[in-house]
Amino acid sequence: MKKSEWSDKQLEDLLSQMPKIKDERDPHEIYQNITVRMNKRKQRVWVMPTAAAALAAVLFFILVPNLFNWQNSEEQVADLANQSKSSQKISMKEDADIQEAEEKVSIEEESAIPFTAEENPEEQDEIGIRSMDVDDSATAVYEEDIGGMEVLTYAIPDENAMLAVPVSVLVAKREDKTKFDLFEENMMTLNEKEWGLKDYFPLKAEFSLDEQSNVLTVDFPADHPYRDGSASESVFNDALSYTLSSLDISEIKFTTDGKPGMDLGNSGFIEEFIPEYGNHAYYFYYPNKTETKPYIVPYGEQLSSISEAFAAMKENQDKAKLTASIPADINFETEVNQEEKKLIIRFGEGSDIKNDQPTLHTIEAILLTAKDFNYQAVKMENANVEMVGRFNLDNEIKVPVAANKRSLP
């Protein structure tokens, strides 16, 4: 039998005879390959953490706002707990809010708190946010808000040119400029579109003011756009009236290309214009349905008494898409103190005055109307709450300086 047998030694010898294998490449080539691969690896090393960091940043931005909401709601819960002494007030707020929710006046909710409403349906949260809203959702400019600024009021037509909405902006006073200069200057910067109104200013006209006589000369180009259609004409009158009323102008002279007079379509040829202001009723105007704050807008004929105006304010003005500014369930008597230019409003039985946003706006409409009828202050009596938003009903309330505050860009 010839079976081969191998010893360790034989195997070892055989293995040591294994051929030497050589790398035939040039060392430079190898070195180059190495450096290329090392650099590549460095890039890879760099890419992953960057991607991770980017992802983390995205997550951060998604999560953080939610986190803040939770914190807010917690704080508010704490606040509510702290205020347990004044719990009467809170429960009234709550009542107001619940009732509101029932009435589904959801316009306000939708735009004011677009996602918290969905994500945190907890009532606590909403109460917090809502009552904050009431506090600063006043629309007009009040004396204490001005702080040394100049108030400019521009009356801007709505998109359908059915009415003129007075909008007030605050601008810094300048020693070298008169109010009229500021008025002319800022006419350029108005954001009418953003405010849901018609792009109207600057007017296509030249203004010059004779400061002695307070007579304003408005010079139109021959092809001015203010004569097409009666609607735009009447709104032009209103716009001019409201705008100029805040500038204390007594008379306006129209010229066209320097020649006296101006062709105003149906109204014919006009040389002079005496602004009609005062004695209007104020209504709510919502430029689009999602708006929470209304514009509070004067509309209609001049009225002979303020009670007439208040009566009118309970009716919607459908033609101009205006909403009644005094709800049907609020009744009051008015008493006039002509000498002190004060108005006293005594709420009747069953008038439920709540500390909420609609009531606040109703009060503002009343104040603005009072201002239009030349009153200086209003005292409200018989209300079942002490505070409505910023107003303390125990005290006399001064009428606003101007309506519909907006800020310039």
């Binding site: 047998e5 191998w6 034989q10 195997l11 294994m18 051929p19 190898i30």
Partner: protein
Amino acid sequence: MDSVFDELYRKYHHDVFQFLFYMVKNKEQAEDLVQEVYIRVLKSYERFEGKSSEKTWLFSIARNVAIDSFRKQKGWKQRILEKFDWSTSQVKDDQPIPEDIAVQNEEIQQIYRCLDQCTVDQRLVIVMRYIHEFSILETAEALGWTESKVKTTQHRALKILKKQMEEMMGKEGMENEKVRMER
């Protein structure tokens, strides 16, 4: 060129390359892997403390590179299949024999093929101990093993090689005049 690379190349390049070649049995792959060895070395050269000799340190890196390449070669599929596959021991050598080996005598070719039958550990020991003529101590250092582990692995490896060589010779009906010799 980097001075570290230059020095290592001069001293050890062909050794390391040959070691990798006998481990993976493929020249192109060995070329790739030797580059990988340099990359790892250059990155960690500062950390080389001189505890072991430069040579064994370099070989320990080469060994890690070789083992990593085996792991990479076997995809996850193969690794799963392996769990169920009872015939894994019959690893087939589908690679053609490289030229350097093919020109050698029959016995060398035989033993080259038989290397496949060893486990990776056994092959490491065989290549280091007999082809590179490392001492037991050097092998232990390069592999990070104890000397006795090197010895037992070497013993088992030789046993397998012996068995395989005998089988192969028998199968191919080779006449072998060699008579039994003492171990």
